[in-house]
């Protein structure tokens, strides 16, 4: 179990390798990486090119919430290892923003836990995105109903 909140990019291959190295009880590792897209939705709902985005967070509360989300995943599924890395600061299109990963003896637990980690993180971790369009104008990204629904899904268990 580990949570990291950092400005620096991460080495996806190395991070995933460390989650399984030496643990032969692991049958499956599921991971999800979120990346900066170069398209963004404006206030009028139009899609437009975005040059970059900046992620702001609430130091202290962020780590606390991410640790709680990870702990919750371990309580719900029999996991062998897990990891959450979330970056903040300015990022260009194509850059990695977030990594969540979970391993287990069986694939279903790994998949569900990984999906749960990103769904909960999306509505419970205090991060905010501001996107810059090509003219340099900043737009604060609005929370999406679909993210609330994705979080809801895990309450029905």
């Amino acid at each position: 179990m580990a949570v990291r909140v950092q400005v620096e990019d991460f080495d996806l291959g190395m991070e995933l390798k460390q989650l399984t190295d030496g643990n032969h009880a692991i049958g499956g590792l599921c991971s999800f990486v979120g990346l900066v897209r170069d398209m963004t939705k404006t206030d009028d709902g139009e899609m437009t090119r975005s040059a970059a985005m900046t992620l702001e967070h609430y130091p202290g509360m962020t780590e606390k919430m991410l640790e709680r989300i990870e702990t919750e995943a371990h309580e719900r599924w029999p996991l062998e290892s897990s990891l959450i890395i979330h970056r903040y600061g300015r990022m260009d299109a194509g850059e990695q923003i977030v990594l969540v990963a979970a391993s287990s003896a069986h694939r279903e637990a790994a998949f569900e836990a990984c999906h749960f980690l990103i769904d909960w993180l999306k509505t419970k971790a205090p991060f905010w995105k501001v996107e810059e369009d090509e003219s340099g104008k900043e737009n604060w990204v609005e929370a999406r109903d679909s993210d609330d629904q994705a979080t809801e899904r895990w309450n029905k268990n």
Partner: protein, 83 residues
């Protein structure tokens, strides 16, 4: 009381963090917001529509009718958009 603002609330209010002495009759988040609105136009503007604002007390999500005390860390922010 330590009060934090994030995202567009930080931009509208012009600071991310401030310490304020709160009147004794301010005991809930709602009362704190009402009092902040009276502190200046940028507060009034930022807190115009609280339906789009979330609050955390001592780094825990809370409701607007939750109790606040002078030693608390209270944070206001829009719905989160990480991941």
């Amino acid at each position: 009381m330590k009060i934090l603002y994030f995202a567009w609330l930080r931009q509208k209010i012009g600071t991310g963090e401030e310490r304020k002495d709160i009147p004794a009759n301010v005991t809930t988040v709602s009362q704190l917001v009402d009092w902040l609105r009276s502190e200046g136009d940028h507060y009034a503007d930022a807190f115009k529509d609280t339906s789009a604002i979330k609050v955390a007390i001592n780094q825990e999500f809370a409701d607007f009718n939750a109790t606040v005390q002078s030693g608390d860390e209270v944070a206001f922010f829009p719905p989160v958009t990480g991941g």
